[in-house]
């Protein structure tokens, strides 16, 4: 819900730390923080831990709403107690400076975890208590292609506030009532913005679009073409290059697949869920040793099909890719998603 109050605010550069410090008083704050050479979106306890200049965070927001490991239930084999659910505490979390693409990706996790008739209470508890303050991308990263897939470096999906970096500081656009509420709470730090700030903001935002260096083929066209490409030779071609490490899926902000296993430690049992990947052969291996996806080609196909064909089929045409570019940038075998999409575009033409 957009509020009737001032939709914009201005945060002077020198007040950034103070702003973050205030946020720390409102809940658990997750923000980009350097860890060696890379930046991780993680909990910070002091404003000083925030990385002000940062590369794309290695992780995305999936880690916050669907942690890599979590205990679903505990059990005690010998006791009267059969098993007990272990629902997460509903702590308010504030994500500070996530990128618009990562925020947008949450919509696809929502599609899966909120889906009826079995909404996932673990996910929903976390999701409902996350406030997202995004930082628009004034200088997109080398692998970004959000603008060819319905997003934008200043996209607002799922964000409560989006910030634009200008010369004197940051312009805050309040998108939701929760965002506005933050603005109200910070009224002694937040100032009104001038016409010049406004002009600068527009310039920064327009510029950003032009700075996106990569372009993917039209996603809805890809989606349609894929429907007749299950048997295409391109899957073997890419599968032969792939080593099945699963990195692409672990870094993808719209991936959600998980495994469930029982582990025991010090006399207590835990049913845990852990991230899993369709790039692993065990993912689909039957007890009978039959594997419906026995080779890497069929597993690369699953990844691409899921994002670009199956998800749109199941969820009103929505393509589950936000163009963050992580899978392409960090694949050890240089398997570039855009090159796969270009192959689809070409192969699909031949088929038609």
């Amino acid at each position: 819900m957009v509020s009737k109050e001032e939709p914009l605010g201005f945060l002077p550069k020198e007040k950034l730390k103070e702003f973050v410090q205030e946020l720390l008083g409102l809940g658990v704050v997750l923000a980009p923080k350097k860890e060696g050479d890379i930046t991780i979106m993680q909990e910070i306890r002091t404003a000083g831990e925030l990385a002000e200049d940062f590369e794309q965070t290695r992780n995305n927001l999936r880690t916050i709403v669907e942690p890599q490991n979590e205990i679903l239930l505990t059990y005690q084999p010998s006791a009267e107690l059969f098993c007990e659910e272990n629902l997460p505490e509903e702590k308010q979390k504030i994500v500070f400076w996530c990128r618009p693409c990562d925020a947008r990706a949450i919509s696809y996790l929502d599609d899966n975890f909120k889906d009826e008739p079995f909404p996932d209470p673990y996910y929903i508890r976390r999701r409902d208590r996350v406030l997202l303050i995004g930082l628009g991308c004034d200088s997109p990263f080398p692998y970004c292609f959000c603008s060819s897939i319905g997003g934008s470096p200043f996209g607002k999906d799922n964000l409560d506030i989006v910030m634009t970096r200008v010369d004197r500081g940051y312009i805050l656009e309040y998108i939701t009532e929760n965002g506005q509420e933050i603005g109200r709470k910070m009224s002694d730090i937040i100032q009104r913005l001038t016409d010049d700030d406004m002009t600068e903001m527009r310039k920064v935002q327009e510029n950003a679009d032009k700075m996106i260096r990569r372009k993917a083929p039209d996603p809805s066209d890809i989606s349609r073409k894929l429907s007749s490409m299950f048997e295409s030779p391109i899957w073997k071609k890419w599968g032969d290059k792939c080593i099945g490490c699963g990195i692409c899926t672990y870094l993808c902000p719209t991936c959600w697949c998980f495994d469930i296993n029982d582990v025991e430690s010090r006399g207590k049992g835990y049913r845990i869920r852990t991230w899993d990947s369709c790039q692993f052969p065990l993912f689909t291996l039957h007890t009978s040793s039959h594997n419906p996806r026995p080779d890497k080609g069929s597993r690369v196909r699953q990844r691409v099909m899921h994002k670009y064909n199956y998800h749109p089929i199941n969820y009103g045409g929505r393509i589950a890719c936000v163009g963050c570019g992580r899978c392409s940038e960090l694949c050890p075998m240089d398997i570039d998603l855009i090159s796969i999409l270009e192959d689809i575009s070409k192969a699909g033409e031949k088929d038609a």
Binding site: F82, C83, Y122, W256, R271
Partner: protein, 279 residues
């Protein structure tokens, strides 16, 4: 918030029937939920699935082999096979397992009213079929002819043998049992189930065919059914895939865009023909 779908409910094993023996033995477990409320809320259709838990081992998706028309208890015919099912075979009467569900679509038994039903089963494929034919027998007047073709490797491997023989005697259904290789005392058909179907050529008139069993058997059975004049949308089978959550979340049981745990496990042959070869 609705209840936690990952939470299994305690169910007590009331009875264990040794159906077949050997390495791949089959036992039928009859279980009752400990909590009366859980029991009355557990409303299922024939062909639906439940996630069975053995804490410390994990979960396994298993079809109900009982029909909701039989009693409040649930029955599962389980072959000793995998990580979970092999420990299930160590269970004794009075012990507890976890059960959550029911999941999946089940057989469209209501749509089949007024039609004849031809069941074709092989091996442990009888488990989901039994749920459906027991349902049909308990609602006998709603259906036309009921025939059950069932084959096993040997006479020792026929699951629900006594029950099937008494169904045959009651005259409520035609039962055709077969075994793969000849045995001295065996008077019935010897050969694979689809061959028995071919031999007796049941009519496809106003008939629904339901085939469950090993993949190869189903393939041949379906070819046979098609040549007997069954339309693809009148042939039903169940599909299997590795499942972890059973509630459409963990992302591993899909065939193309279809999640088997949610939209399956029952599909018509017509639906299967439209699926990619992802199984």
């Amino acid at each position: 918030m609705p209840e936690n779908p990952y939470l299994p409910h305690a169910a007590v094993v009331r009875d264990i029937a040794q159906e077949t023996s050997g390495e791949r033995a089959v036992r039928t477990f009859t279980v009752d939920f400990e909590d009366e409320n859980v029991s009355s809320n557990f409303k299922y259709r024939p062909g639906q699935l439940a996630m069975i838990s053995v804490f410390g081992r994990g979960e396994s998706m298993i079809s109900m082999t009982s029909s909701p028309t039989m009693s409040k208890s649930l029955q599962f015919a389980i072959m000793r096979y995998g990580r979970v099912t092999s420990v299930l075979h160590y269970l004794e009467i009075g012990e507890k397992i976890g059960v959550r569900g029911p999941y999946g679509n089940g057989f469209p038994v209501a749509d089949w009213k007024g039609k004849s039903l031809l069941f074709i089963g092989g091996g442990i494929g009888i488990a989901p079929l039994r749920s459906a034919y027991m349902y049909a027998l308990d609602n006998r007047k709603d259906y036309g002819e009921i025939s059950i073709f069932y084959g096993a490797r040997s006479s020792q491997n026929i699951v629900f043998r006594k029950e099937l023989e008494s169904i045959a005697q009651s005259g409520k259904a035609k039962v055709e049992l077969s075994i793969d290789k000849p045995e001295d005392d065996w008077k019935g058909f010897v050969g694979f189930v689809p061959a028995n179907v071919k031999r007796l050529s049941p009519t496809s008139d106003n008939t629904i065919a339901i085939a469950c069993g090993p993949v190869v058997m189903i393939k041949v059975a379906i070819d046979e059914l098609l040549s007997l004049g069954f339309a693809p949308e009148r042939i039903f089978t169940t599909m299997e895939n590795k499942m972890k959550c059973g509630i459409g979340k963990c992302g591993r049981c899909n065939i193309g865009s279809v999640l088997v745990c949610k939209k399956g496990p029952v599909f018509s042959y017509d639906q299967i023909q439209k699926m990619p070869r992802d199984f």
